[in-house]
């Protein structure tokens, strides 16, 4: 039984894989950006997405117009990001990386159980965005509108981010801070502004991800995006955390691989999909511990 015989590949699978890769790439940027300035791997990123998704669900429960729900989603996610930064990330800034990692792990569980307490394990359904889930049929391939939106939004966000990082002074400060935080401060970069900026942009990306994921899967539960975060984290480390582009590529690759194998493998094999993907992650890390797309010689600081 060769690999080609096992896999059933069609354009549908590839389109879906691209959409998932796009969403994961956005999450990867959000995680990579905060890591860049704070050297902090944010495990709680998925819970920001979850909070945004619940905002959307509440919006549709109250029969709010779609745009208002989206505003609410952004407001909730941004407020929560700033709150997390003030209460958790800032006090932890001087702690060892392992402590920070465990702390964000704790925050992730904390937020998840608050959602569990508030909304119950069955979650809520966000219906107002459903029209976006309708497919367009192009040449026999059903492409859901949201897939196109997802890929477009991802590309637009990445271009905007690249412009922000390379063409504005805040972006310059962010890049300086992510290279060497202390020296950047000595040279007059205002640390809190840079961190605040990174946290806000990363929060905005989480809100975008929340909208896309909610359209694809309108049932919002407390563990919404939890598993995605773990996969994206693996992808980000796989790509190379130290710079935004490798991190994004890593996120995209793992999303694409998951979507592709999930669609192409028959059911009996696709239930082992997580095992396959994570085994691949381990293999890649063994060969290139600094990441697949990392520049040679970038030493890890952790």
């Amino acid at each position: 039984m060769t690999l080609a015989a096992v896999l059933t590949v069609d354009w549908q699978t590839i389109a879906d894989a691209f959409a998932l890769g796009g969403v994961y790439a956005l999450m990867a940027v959000g995680i990579g950006l905060v890591f860049g300035v704070l050297r902090l791997v944010n495990f709680a990123y998925g819970q920001l997405v979850m909070a945004g998704a619940f905002a959307l669900a509440l919006g549709s429960q109250w029969n709010w117009p779609t745009w208002l729900s989206i505003v609410l989603c952004f407001a909730v996610v941004l407020a929560l990001s700033v709150l997390l930064d003030r209460l958790v990330f800032r006090p932890l800034r001087t702690h060892p990386p392992a402590v920070m990692l465990v702390a964000t792990f704790a925050v992730a569980f904390l937020l998840q159980s608050i959602a569990l307490l508030w909304f119950g394990p069955l979650g809520k359904i966000a219906t107002s965005l459903a029209p976006l889930n309708q497919p367009w049929t192009i040449g026999g391939v059903d492409i859901r509108k949201i897939s196109i939106v997802a890929v477009t939004v991802t590309v637009v966000c990445l271009v905007l981010l690249q412009l922000l990082l390379t063409r504005t002074s805040v972006g310059l400060h962010m890049r300086a801070a992510s290279m060497d935080f202390r020296t950047a401060r000595l040279l007059g970069v205002r640390a809190d502004r840079v961190i605040g900026g990174a946290v806000l942009v990363s929060g905005a990306l989480a809100a975008v991800v929340a909208i896309i994921l909610t359209v694809q899967n309108p049932l919002v539960t407390p563990d919404f995006a939890l598993h995605d975060t773990i996969v994206v984290l693996a992808g980000v480390v796989l790509g190379g955390l130290s710079r935004p582009i490798p991190a994004t590529l890593g996120g995209f690759s793992i999303g694409f691989a998951t979507g592709f194998l999930g669609g192409a493998l028959p059911t009996a094999q696709s239930q082992y999909l997580p095992a396959l993907v994570f085994a691949a992650v381990i293999l890649v890390l063994l060969v290139r511990p600094n990441g697949l797309f990392a520049r040679a010689g970038t030493a890890e600081r952790l």
């Binding site: 095992a275 992650v281 890890e300």
Partner: protein, 331 residues
């Protein structure tokens, strides 16, 4: 006596918990037994994380394999077809007693940790953290769907419930003793040196890779053993051996203080006590004349918040990473 004071404190605490668990009613006794099993798991985490300074999110996979080994081999042969219809080969007929099942669980955990650790221990820092996470995901995924080696999605029912308060206590004492003598051994000291100053340790001829691998295998063995104890206490399934257990056991280690055995034991017992109290309170508990009735789900909120606060305010944990010292008692 003084040489063993680091062993004395944790053991005394475990015995105290066991005696308390023995005298209380059977319903509350379960909380004490669970706490003692948690001690074994957290001590396993301590052996690796505490001595090497490398974070592992993967240890619950060794616990899970211990659960699977002891569970599959302990269910009476007559009841196996009902829970595990697809078991392969000798697993279908073989049933062993309580103690052999625990020994085999420890062996299985140790072997898996050694096999997995052989490549993984070359990594460090963030890559190591994510890779151990990947191990947890893989183990969880395989145990969940591979029905030739266990119940798959089903729960391990019909496992003889041999883990009473004394079995749990003896198990915890064994784990503590192993961890204590490892930490005092040549290997334990070498590993600790690599975590304090990797450059100096390497210069002194210590192989970081070999020391980490040894500690990883030893802690995998203790974790597997703890898994064996666990399945003899409660009917478990894959979901009870996943992220939640990873979180709560890491919380215990961090809250207690990850660099000392005393911290691991104090953390495990303190967080278990808090968790049990909150579990009772979720069902309504009478305290100080009033009734405390917390909504379901409060446990994780309180434990998560406690963990975050301890990490921010006191990164060394409750014990600040110190070992138990007899002078505290004499004073």
């Amino acid at each position: 006596m003084r040489r063993f004071q680091g062993l004395l404190g944790p053991c005394a605490l475990v015995l105290l918990a066991a005696v308390l668990g023995d005298v209380v009613s059977r319903a509350s006794g379960v909380y004490f037994i669970t706490a003692l099993v948690n001690v074994s798991i957290v001590v396993a985490l301590y052996v690796f994380i505490g001595s090497s300074g490398v974070l592992s999110f993967g240890h619950i996979s060794f616990v899970a394999l211990g659960v699977w080994t002891a569970g599959v081999l302990s269910v009476p042969a007559a009841e196996k077809p009902a829970i595990m219809p697809n078991l392969a080969g000798f697993l279908r007929h073989t049933t062993v007693g309580n103690v052999p099942s625990l020994v085999l669980a420890a062996v299985a955990g140790g072997v898996l940790a050694a096999v997995v650790g052989a490549p993984l221990m070359r990594l460090s820092g963030l890559a190591a953290g994510i890779a151990t996470f990947a191990v947890l995901e893989i183990t969880h995924n395989v145990l969940r769907y591979y029905e030739k080696i266990g119940p798959g999605l089903n729960t391990f029912s019909s496992v003889p419930e041999t883990t009473g308060v004394w079995q749990a206590a003896i198990g915890a004492l064994l784990a503590i003793t192993a961890a204590f003598f490892y930490a005092r051994s040549r290997f334990g000291r070498m590993l600790r040196a690599t975590s304090e100053d990797p450059a100096a340790a390497t210069a002194a001829g210590i192989s970081i890779y070999r020391q980490r691998l040894f500690a990883f295998a030893l802690s995998g063995m203790i974790a597997g053993f703890a898994g064996g104890l666990y399945v003899h206490l409660l009917p478990l399934n894959t979901e009870s051996l996943y992220l939640d257990l990873t979180f709560i056991t890491l919380a215990m280690l961090v809250v207690g203080g990850s660099t000392s055995l005393w911290g691991a034991v104090v953390g495990a017992l303190a967080v278990s006590a808090l968790d049990s109290f909150l579990a009772e309170a979720e069902n309504g508990v009478r305290i100080f004349g009033g009734t405390l009735d917390l909504p379901a789900g409060t446990r994780v909120i309180v434990v998560g918040a406690l963990m975050a606060v301890v990490l921010i305010r006191r990164p060394g944990g409750l014990t600040n990473g110190a070992e138990f010292n007899l002078r505290w008692v004499r004073r």
